[in-house]
Symmetry: C2
Subunit: 413 residues, 2 copies
Amino acid sequence: MSKIPQRRTSRDIRSDSRLEVLHAVLSARETTRSAIAQATGLSAATVVTIVGELIDEGIIAETKVTIGRVGRPTATVGMNSDRGRVVGIDVAETYVRAVMFDTALNRIGYVEGARDEHVLDPDSIVDGIGAVLDRLLAQEDGARERVLGVGLSLPGLVQGPRGVAAVVVPNWEWRSVELDHLRERVGLPLVIDNPLKAMVAAELWLGRGRSASSMVTVNLGTGVGAGIVLEGTVLRGATNSAGEWGHSLLMLDGRLCRCGRRGCVEAYVGVPGIHQTLRELAPRHPLAEVELQADFITSLAKAAAGPDPDPAARDTVARTAYYLGSALADLVAVVNPEVVTLTGWTTWALGDQLVPEALERLRTESPAGAGGSVQLEVSTVGGNSVATGMAITALERFLVDAGLLTTRIPVAL
Amino acid sequence: MSKIPQRRTSRDIRSDSRLEVLHAVLSARETTRSAIAQATGLSAATVVTIVGELIDEGIIAETKVTIGRVGRPTATVGMNSDRGRVVGIDVAETYVRAVMFDTALNRIGYVEGARDEHVLDPDSIVDGIGAVLDRLLAQEDGARERVLGVGLSLPGLVQGPRGVAAVVVPNWEWRSVELDHLRERVGLPLVIDNPLKAMVAAELWLGRGRSASSMVTVNLGTGVGAGIVLEGTVLRGATNSAGEWGHSLLMLDGRLCRCGRRGCVEAYVGVPGIHQTLRELAPRHPLAEVELQADFITSLAKAAAGPDPDPAARDTVARTAYYLGSALADLVAVVNPEVVTLTGWTTWALGDQLVPEALERLRTESPAGAGGSVQLEVSTVGGNSVATGMAITALERFLVDAGLLTTRIPVAL
Ligand SMILES: [Zn+2]
Ligand SMILES: [Zn+2]
């Protein structure tokens, strides 16, 4: 591969500043130009210009004008929730979820459809996505006309430049022809990314990413993975594959992972891995019989909690925290982030029980310089952060098309 | 830690462009303004301006003027070797090496002094560094006056902003007071960084970093570590500790590492780890008795090479390639670089034997998207790349002080 020049133009800098202004407005809900200047470190003049551009585009709006005692009017601004709608869709193994947000990122609609994880032909999957989207749009009169963009999360990789991008979903055998089909069926500006990148976008706009300069967001579910943010930018890598920490080694020649390799982190801290840990510790425990992953994690969390926990459940959680802390130490050694946030449904069930012991292990196991100060937190971005993140990504893509942003653009179709 | 705004100004962009022009001139040795424009993708006007600035500062010079057939004179430019000298010093466990370069990065002097690795008091170490530097400067009349800067590699971490930086060398118990002492003894503009960052600087200016947009440089020696380059910039991390891949996990609860943790990569692919692998495979092998690390690696490489290799030596190399490929797969999974280069003295002895099998394992073990295209190469930067890299870092620091560069600045003292 030859070098792609990645110089930043002065337009990129304006783009960064606009993003900072947007984040400041979103964080504060209602704020003033001078408060934005203070929060972002931008000059008052720059803030005035950028706020003007964002008002012109209808992304933010003046909310009220106050006449102060010295007679100078102060206008407050906020996100303009009436500019339109953005939709985020999360296609997971057993469901398709679509969430509609207004342009102030308030959630205003939600639809979920079941998916048969054994049905993998493109037509069925595309139809399933289309049907859920149609039901969501039917919830509001004229919604289709108001939608600025749709962000779709698929469990794969989006590779290649705009126009010739291909979605590689290893388990589905998807090729680019299905992309055309999908684009046609959705019939709205569409952007596709994978769940990890979506979660990171949510964390950047609504969570810890607003205050940390470098951050890793770790998803804990059936699979596990990491989103890495350096200086406010998501690390994508040479082929948009960065962050596959779930398939980095915890134990050479260890447990067989579903990727076919042995000893991956995911084989220990993914839900099936946690289940295996319990079975190894207590083969005849009632929890070993729980087959549905979501039921297992919830039951495990309940059994391990409280002043008189079930010993096998408690040991399983402790062992999982040990694995998690050990594996996170590797990420911290390599990337040296300021903070690691945990997200995903294992986190919602077990995160508070995992964090203290995992953090202790993480700090012990990381090289001194990196581990001493690193923080480990449960993400504060609630709900389905994949759908939320994809809606945010659709909004970002709209801002790119409007000429307001040039950086952090995922591959758009 | 609160967020430090890291916006780039238009000055940073000029700085990036100047660096690209410098790299193009350095690569070509002798070139023209239009060839530079072609190589960098910068506009002809920008190249003319930047070349002018660099000529004004004496960093590059016009080498000759050719009158072409159409009568238009074409001037060639090259690095100006007469602008001054830069020195790189590598303080390792058993030696102190100092190398002097001219400003075209030609090596013009070299001195090595032995170090007793058990003598760790600051006064002795500072004196040892000073003595080697004095001997180097004595090789050329008036050298001290010509030196633009000295770059010193210490086996630790440099932390904190300019002026209040501290060098943390865990094994030496160094504190900031020793820094003052050091600065006084050297008596020249001084910049300090660790060996990994030095190797990356060398790779960026003189090796694979000139053509790859994302790259990992892995050092293989007594210790092992990685330098990560993303979009032409060295990843430093929240506390300047990024790249500690040597102390990421290969095997949970595995071999004891000298850092005190179990199962680190270094305990398998560092020289003492390779020695242990041989002892495990063939406890009574003559190579198991070789105590000096450098002798061991050289003898192992000799015994494992050729059409009729020693079986235990061959197995040890194969096992090491297996460990190395497995461990590199984790780096590739997380960072997704275009290329991984190997450097350090194990590489010079064993690299050509390690690369084919390590690459095969790396490609098998990496997630498909990242591993399919990644390259693994022995670095083409010869000699002592730590000393070379620190000399380059000293040159970068000089360019920063001259107002020509603003990015990629290591902590300067
Ligand atoms: Zn795996
Ligand atoms: Zn270690």
